[in-house]
């Protein structure tokens, strides 16, 4: 039977069946003991991952929530605050752009109720309001889009659009001039927060480990209307206040005034985040994710979709608003590619939140949820707080732009590190055998977050966040390889401390965030990871991880530039430097230009580096040297964004071409005979799409 600490551990080095980097949970571990007795799960998962045709990646690349999943949108009223009679500034950092919370909530509630009332027939008939059908307009109709404000002649843009249309082979069809100007949808949260429940699991075990994408919040209309919005079809005018994205509880004050009526009002909502892609490496093989760091470019991430069904109610008698959120996530495989009905499904959200409990500004929740802060979109990375938790929490938002929240939850990854089952004779002299849990311990995680916002001028703002976590795993006992011989399993503890400073201009989605996070002990490993590289005392004591990350976005006119980067240093609990210890990082930038309101071109450049605590013999047979792997990548992505301009405008359909240059160290991360081991240049040519709407995880909750 497995011994504690000897379970298959995901190695950050290329798994024979998967990709070299995984989320944090994998990156730290030495070569996975895949051959460990009876432990085939990870191998199977990875094998399945490799069979995925579209974007082949290891199972850990499944975009499952990892340590850095999407922002905890659900907690923050994201709706911009603006006067009902004029367009307010876009919500760059929704939480802090709000005015007094109550006002914001009122506006938001108005919007919500307005839609409910507007579509009550549909709701009554169909029960579910498919928000996405009208959300873009509902959320942003009141707003207007800022046209290109940098002096480009209109004729030049039209000519460019026609030329681009000729180049594109996908038959764009209608002339650009017939498209309505849509308000910019990008959520100016200052963090590019997107509730991206997609996951790229770090480890084969850690199917939930990958950070989700940032939440996309519904974009707040511009403060300065430039042109009247054109719509392809008339829709009810939304309230002047764009509804907050997911986390804002509904309050009575936010609902439109109605005649005294039922003590209870409610509505169903539907939202989604998704991405799908198909690509080739130019040699006939499906393209694979080729990043060598844990959080690399997301241009080649795997297919993923979240389907959210949400019920929101207002309980007049007690003055409490509730919402029930359920989110199903579906990852590879895609039936139309491999003919198999075997997509992986997970429940990403399943919780209830009640707002206005006791006093205004206080909300409580319980259930299973993605519980996270701000992300770096380009990297699919939540650097500070990103938990996938089954627990409960409390949040308080003060009128002073102070938000405090605490939570606690439990988890039990599917690993012998947490659970050991054994067979015993059935009781009472019965036939057969019974299965018992000898070791059965769950990991407690508690978190606290304190955020303070500051307004800078009319639109701009900044926030400072302090964050911490505590982790604990109780001691236990497990049976050794010999039945009846037991051994003690020590308790584990860990903590996280970190902070964030964010700033935004209030103009579109221009923002910048700086994150710092330090984790120690058990917390240094991913929440779903089986810790490896244990210390001599067979505990995680001594493991540590430091992350410094930067993410931001600038938009002006037809241009947008997204940037991101991080440095991560992980040391496992084993005292000596070894292959499980890693320093890595990436710098990435993606400028984009919109030739028209709905078509544009992006390019992306990144440089990623990984150092391992291991020596490798170079190809020329010389002296062994520390493993240093580098890979610059460059990509081009022409796109169509029907929702208009903006880094976070979705839906978006694109073509992608990237070229990566893998040096000897990067090639050494892969097994012999793996194409990534033999070739230095990697091409990725494909097409894909991404969307989000109406999701509490991805902006635009209402």
């Amino acid at each position: 039977m497995a011994d504690v600490g000897e379970e298959p551990r995901e190695t950050g080095l290329p798994h024979p069946l998967g990709e070299p980097h995984a989320a944090r949970a994998r990156a730290e571990e030495p070569f996975a003991a895949r051959g460990h007795r009876g432990e085939l799960r990870a191998g199977i998962a990875l094998g399945k991952g490799r069979q995925h045709g579209l974007l082949v990646a290891a199972a850990e690349q499944l975009d499952l929530p990892g340590p850095n999943e999407l922002a905890e949108q659900v907690d923050e009223p994201r709706a911009p605050t603006f006067d009902p009679v004029e367009q307010g500034p876009r919500e760059v950092n929704g939480g802090l752009n709000r005015r007094v919370g109550a006002e914001h909530l009122e506006h938001r509630s108005v919007a919500a109720v307005a839609r409910v009332l507007e579509h009550r027939v549909e709701v009554a008939e169909g029960l579910v309001k498919v928000q996405g059908e009208d959300q873009p307009r509902a959320c942003h109709a009141a707003g207007d889009r800022r046209r290109i404000g940098v002096g480009f002649p209109d004729v030049t843009m039209r000519l460019s659009a026609w030329l681009f249309g000729l180049v594109l082979a996908c038959g764009l069809g209608h002339a650009a001039s017939s498209r309505a100007d849509e308000p910019d949808r990008s959520e100016a949260e200052g963090d590019g927060k997107r509730d991206d429940a997609e996951r790229t699991p770090a480890t084969a075990e850690d199917d939930e480990a990958r950070p989700a994408k940032a939440k996309r919040r519904d974009v707040v209309p511009d403060a300065s209307p430039a042109e009247p919005a054109e719509r392809s079809s008339p829709v009810p005018a939304p309230p002047a206040t764009a509804p907050a994205t997911s986390p804002v509880p509904i309050t009575a004050a936010a609902l439109p005034p109605v005649a005294p009526g039922p003590e209870h009002r409610g509505a169903f909502h539907f939202g989604s985040y998704g991405r799908v892609a198909i690509a080739s490496d130019g040699t006939g093989r499906p393209a694979r994710e080729s990043d060598i760091v844990a959080y690399g470019s997301r241009l080649d991430t795997t297919n993923y979709v979240e389907l959210e069904l949400r019920r929101e109610d207002r309980w007049e008698k007690v003055g409490i608003d509730t919402r029930i959120i359920s989110t199903l996530a579906i990852a590879n495989s895609i039936f139309h590619f491999d003919g198999k009905f075997d997509s992986q499904i997970a429940v990403r959200n399943l919780y209830i939140e009640a707002s206005g409990v006791g006093t205004k500004g206080v909300s409580v929740w319980a259930g299973s949820r993605m519980y996270r802060g701000d992300d770096i979109y380009l990297l699919n990375f939540w650097p500070l707080d990103n938990l996938n938790t089954l627990g409960a929490g409390v949040r308080y938002e003060a009128p002073t732009r102070t938000v405090a929240q605490v939570h606690m939850g439990f988890g039990q990854p599917d690993s012998p590190f947490y659970k050991q089952r054994a067979s015993r004779p059935a009781p009472l002299n019965q036939f057969g055998a019974a299965t018992i849990d000898l070791l059965d311990r769950q990991r407690w995680i508690g978190s606290a977050r304190l955020e303070q916002g500051f307004r800078l001028g009319d639109k701009a703002g900044m926030k400072v966040v302090g964050y911490g976590e505590g982790h604990r795993l109780p001691a236990g006992e497990r049976e050794s390889a010999r039945e009846g011989v037991f051994e003690a399993v020590p308790a584990e503890t860990g903590f996280v401390v970190g902070g964030q400073v964010g700033a935004w201009t209030g103009e579109r989605n221009t923002h910048l965030n700086l994150f710092v996070r330090y984790a120690s002990g058990l917390a240094a490993y991913g929440e779903f990871t089986t810790p490896g590289g244990l210390g001599v005392d067979r505990t995680t004591s001594g493991a540590r991880e430091l992350q410094v990350a930067l993410g931001g976005n600038w938009e002006g006119g037809p241009l947008a530039v997204m940037l991101g980067g991080y440095f991560r240093s992980f040391r496992n609990a084993s005292p000596a430097l070894d292959a499980g210890d890693v320093d890595e990082g990436i710098a990435i930038v993606r400028p984009q230009v919109w030739f028209t309101d709905w078509v544009g071109l992006g390019v992306e450049g990144s440089y990623q580096v990984q150092h391992r605590g291991a020596l490798v013999t170079p190809e020329d047979g010389g002296e062994p040297r520390p493993l240093v792997a580098t890979m610059p990548r460059f990509g081009v992505l022409p796109f169509v964004s029907p929702a208009g301009r903006g880094s976070f405008s979705r839906p978006m359909i694109w073509l992608i071409y990237t070229i990566g240059l893998r040096d000897a160290g990067a090639r050494a991360l892969y097994p012999v005979d793996d194409p990534y081991n033999t070739r230095a240049t990697e091409h990725f040519l494909g097409a894909g799409a991404e969307w989000w709407f109406g999701s509490t995880s991805y902006g635009g909750g209402l």
Binding site: A33, A481, T510, G532, Y566, F567, V609, G613
Partner: protein
């Protein structure tokens, strides 16, 4: 303000890029090329301690892959990190050199038995990750050197692991089949992994008869590391003898060319490619780690020409890089001193043979007669340790054995070797991983007598790990216990006895470098006064004026004295010299004095199974 924000952001990005490029990982110099040097001044001064790495100390749980400490034939988790952590234990014991398990990658497991011992090579170019990576090995060696402990690595040149099968039935699948009913036809058991020896080479056969040499097929199972060997030259079938398993070790062809039992495939060590590959592989390990010697496995199963080539080319290559005084000694598991000693003599082969051997030489240095610097004194193990100290047989066999050493072992130092004749660097041992521990059938008194013997006689003592903890395991794998079960206790009587012997050896040059002379041996084992007595002097040689007299009573029946027919033992020191027993025994405490008579004799009586180490009082 926004502009400043962006400037700060850009600086942060650039700073991170800088960190990305340079990293902040400290390798503590372990990533630097190793500087080779001679870490041992004189191998006669060393006390060797044999370590099975998997069973010595577990210092890194991250490499505890597939361990099962409840089964002796499985991986237990010991590693170089653990060894490094326990170097103070070895220092306290008095060890000055460690001989460790092979460092390269093995077949991980075969037929439910693990390659924990290291004698199933698969990849000669990579470390055995169960023990650690290259940095862990370098770190351990460096730490050992800083503590004045030399490191000797075990090497295998005779065979590789169970890496291929003989496709006898030409179906491309490894089969184990049984033919015949045993009634009307003989039962014939054919095992394609390990068929019996055939001097022609293993033949394929079908129901119609033989079909020529059976092709060999390398297996490919990464999970158990049954993979084609590395370096790649060893993946060519002609590098192997392919004659099947040795069934008669007395038959020379089988001895040299048969597969070792257990399916270990025999290399054709007459081929230049094999010689060169072995030199390249093992010299490389020295260059990567600065280890100080080789213990060579199964030397009697390898052609002599290989040893001439291997030993000479290793010395030449290492000497060019600053590594001198590199000690290579081999294991010939045999009680015949002429056979064992043959690998230490410098004897040129016949001209035709020499010419053929020189075809493998790629530099200008032709082959000479030099071979190994030493061998395990297996004849002594059988005739002395087993027969005398364990079983109480007469001690005159020791004298005979020693007297014949000059006949059988090399008496001239090898060029670029240790500077010592192999006869002076025989490796004396009590037990090892291939034989039952002494205490399996012997007693503690006999063990201590054996320890006194090997620690004071001419040659290098080699202590098998766990001896100091009175481990009692029988044959393999029972004799490969986990040392951590002892708690590394340093207060036990045998630990302290061994420690005392090591210190005395270091203190008295006679015990390390003195010539050796037997002053009493007896063919009597009954009630005679000198039954079981054996005494020898160490003096002269390179020991200066240092002198030591060792007196042993191997009789388990009664006290004995080196006296026969009234004639006591004559010793080599001057009359009137006061000799002090620096060890003590059951009959007399440490410090007991004995005075050499005017006639140059010494009278001493020893309890059963005890000994005395007498040093001149002026040198104590």
């Amino acid at each position: 303000m926004i502009g400043r924000t962006w400037q700060r952001g850009a600086r942060a990005v650039l700073g991170m890029l800088g960190l990305l490029t340079t990293g902040c990982m400290s390798f503590d110099g372990l990533d630097e090329p190793v500087a080779l040097q001679a870490n041992v001044a004189d191998w006669r001064d060393q006390v060797i301690y044999q370590i099975l790495v998997d069973r010595f100390a577990n210092g890194d749980t991250s490499n505890d892959f597939n361990i099962d400490t409840t089964s002796q034939a499985r991986w237990h988790g010991g590693d170089w990190a653990g060894l490094e952590a326990k170097l103070p234990y070895l220092q306290e014991l008095g060890v000055t050199a460690v001989w460790i398990s092979p460092v390269y990658k093995n077949v991980d497991t075969d037929a439910n038995v693990d390659g924990y011992h290291g004698y199933w090579p698969q990849d000669f170019t990579q470390t055995n990750l169960h023990y650690g990576d290259l940095m862990a090995l370098r770190r351990m060696v460096r730490e050992a050197h800083e503590r004045g402990i030399a490191v000797i690595i075990d090497v295998v040149t005779n065979h590789v692991g169970q890496l291929f099968f003989y496709d006898i039935n030409l179906n491309g699948h490894p089969d184990e089949s049984v033919r015949g009913s045993g009634e009307q036809s003989d039962v014939l058991h054919i095992n394609e992994y390990d068929p019996d020896f055939d001097p022609r080479g293993i033949q394929s056969e079908t129901s119609l008869g033989e079909a020529g040499p059976a092709p060999i097929i390398f297996t490919h199972d990464p999970a158990s590391n049954h993979l084609p060997p590395m370096p790649a030259v060893l993946q060519r079938p002609e590098m192997y003898n392919r004659r099947g398993r040795t069934v008669n070790f007395e038959e020379p062809d089988q001895l040299l060319h048969g597969d070792f039992p257990g399916g270990l495939k025999d290399l054709d060590t007459t081929r230049c490619e094999v010689k060169q590959a072995m030199v390249e592989s093992y010299a490389r390990w020295v260059e990567l780690t600065d280890v100080d010697g080789f213990r060579i496995d199964t030397i009697k199963h390898v052609d002599r020409e290989f040893w001439r080539y291997f030993a000479q080319k290793i010395r030449q290559r290492l000497a060019r890089k600053g590594k001198t005084n590199f000690f290579m000694f081999g294991e010939a598991f045999d009680g015949r001193p002429d056979l064992v000693g043959a690998y230490t003599k410098s004897e040129l082969p016949a001209a035709e043979q020499l010419s053929r051997e020189n075809e493998c030489v790629e530099d200008s240095l032709g082959i000479t007669g030099d071979q190994l610097d030493g061998v395990f004194h297996f004849p002594q193990y059988y005739q002395v340790i087993r027969d005398v100290f364990r079983d109480g047989m007469s001690t005159d066999r020791i004298e005979t054995l020693w007297a014949d050493r000059a006949k059988h072992y090399g008496t001239t130092a090898n060029e670029l070797g240790t500077g010592l004749a192999p006869i002076k660097t025989l490796v004396n041992f009590i037990d090892n991983h291939d034989v039952p521990r002494f205490l399996f059938e012997g007693d503690v008194d006999g063990l201590r007598l054996a320890l006194l013997f090997v620690m004071t006689e001419d040659g290098l003592p080699c202590i098998y790990y766990g001896t100091e903890q009175e481990f009692r395991g029988g044959n393999d794998p029972a004799n490969r216990e986990d040392l951590w079960l002892s708690g590394y206790a340093t207060t036990g009587s045998t630990f302290r006895y061994t420690q005392a012997l090591a210190r005395l050896r270091q203190r008295h040059a006679a015990l390390r470098r003195g010539d050796q002379k037997v002053v009493w041996a007896s063919n009597r084992t009954g009630s005679e006064q000198d039954a079981g007595i054996f005494a020898f002097e160490r003096s002269g040689g390179d020991a200066g004026s240092s002198y030591a007299l060792v007196v042993l009573n191997a009789s388990g029946a009664h006290p004995s004295s080196p006296v026969f027919n009234g004639a006591p033992m004559k010793v080599g020191v001057a009359p009137g010299t006061v000799l002090v027993d620096v060890l003590g025994n059951k009959g007399a405490p440490s410090g007991t004095k004995y005075t050499v008579s005017g006639s140059g004799t010494l009278v001493i009586e020893l309890p059963p199974k005890s000994g005395a180490l007498l040093i001149p009082e002026s040198q104590k």
